[in-house]
Symmetry: C2
Subunit: 226 residues, 2 copies
């Protein structure tokens, strides 16, 4: 299904595409996050049976995508729980969390215990804006994720990976599924898991052509790339 | 698939549910409109082959749902065109239209000509806030829609119908498909077309239980009711 001329984005290009989507193409962050998070939930629903899903939520947009995905997973019959240790004060995130709580999606604090007692783990901690090294509490969180037996699903980028070079810090996360959003990032070339999906069906045709984005099937919000 | 105890909403209840979704449940209008419009496009994709779709867009939220649906239909391989004679100045609508134009979705002005030269017509003119009588230019627009040969899809409510009593003005629209959003309105009991769908997969579980909303299948954003 993958398009042979599909572009893999570096950090700067990914950031400028995001800016373009929200300026010259007229999207709001709410719309993009809703469609991105929905595509994450749908990709999961295509490959894993309903069960308990632990979503690890970071403080930025990658975390926002995870909160949206959690809500849709609940609608799809999964049992999501959230690990969300750094909750930003912006209304966008507060409202996404309120939506989760009104869907009876619990917040958990003991990550080690929950990670050993779930069917699937979603890494929505850091995305394409990440650089530098991982700080507390996410350093120990990633250590727990690395050791967990449940399959790991990475949203856009495995957390702690360099957007281009991959796992330069040797954190050792090995996701079973990677869901690239908008377009794959360069580090996706280092992905060794079973399922590589592309989500975020909002790229206008001119940009899609330039990036070599494949045609998604039917009315799905995601496409399997590998 | 329909739930036997599903509630049909009157105008006041529909309005108060909308307020609740955007206050105590924390949704933004962008999110609700995105999911509603996506569910409209998906319902259409479930029943009609790809072709030219004329979307008639009103000045309020029903029109906004239509603009979102047009964009998703384009992604699904349809050829949408927009009749949008009253364009409000609010940023929400301007941005939805900008998204459509960046998807190369044309605006048309000669409704009669286009209505006789398309495969499907979507009525996204008036929704559950409508009351009173239909004014220009929508009075003549509805007359054209009534006489068109292409199947008609009504978004939430056939335009000009009373939310509860149905076609009290005798406008004579007879949609082939009705896509109720959030929950059916009372007037849906007068719908005589082939396909009745429910869209808008965002109703939190407590509200869904109270309204008797059925479980949607898989990761679909819509469910056929009849």
């Amino acid at each position: 299904m993958a398009s042979s001329n599909m572009k893999f984005l570096g950090q700067k290009l990914a950031q400028s595409i995001d800016v373009d989507l929200m300026s010259k193409y007229g999207y709001s962050i709410d719309q993009l996050m809703e469609l991105a998070g929905l595509s994450v939930a749908q990709s999961i629903a295509h490959e894993y049976p309903a069960g308990k899903v632990l979503l690890c939520i970071g403080p930025g947009n990658n975390g926002g995508d995870g909160l949206v995905a959690a809500r849709h997973l609940k609608h799809f019959g999964y049992r999501p729980v959230l690990y969300y240790p750094k909750q930003p004060s912006k209304d966008l995130y507060k409202n996404l969390l309120l939506q989760c709580s009104s869907h009876h999606i619990p917040l958990i604090t003991d990550l080690a215990q929950e990670a050993s007692n779930c069917d699937l783990i979603v890494d929505a901690i850091f995305g394409f804006s990440f650089h530098g090294s991982v700080r507390a509490p996410f350093d120990s969180a990633l250590n727990i994720l690395r050791q967990a037996k449940a399959p790991l699903v990475a949203v856009d980028i495995p957390s702690g990976w360099d957007v281009e070079a991959g796992d330069v810090h040797g954190l050792g996360l090995s996701p079973d599924m990677l869901i690239s959003l908008t377009a794959p990032k360069v580090c996706a070339k280092h992905f060794k898991g079973r399922f590589h999906y592309l989500g975020g069906r909002f790229v206008p045709p001119d940009m899609a052509k330039e990036l070599g984005i494949p045609q998604f099937p039917g009315s799905d919000q995601c496409i399997r790339l590998d």
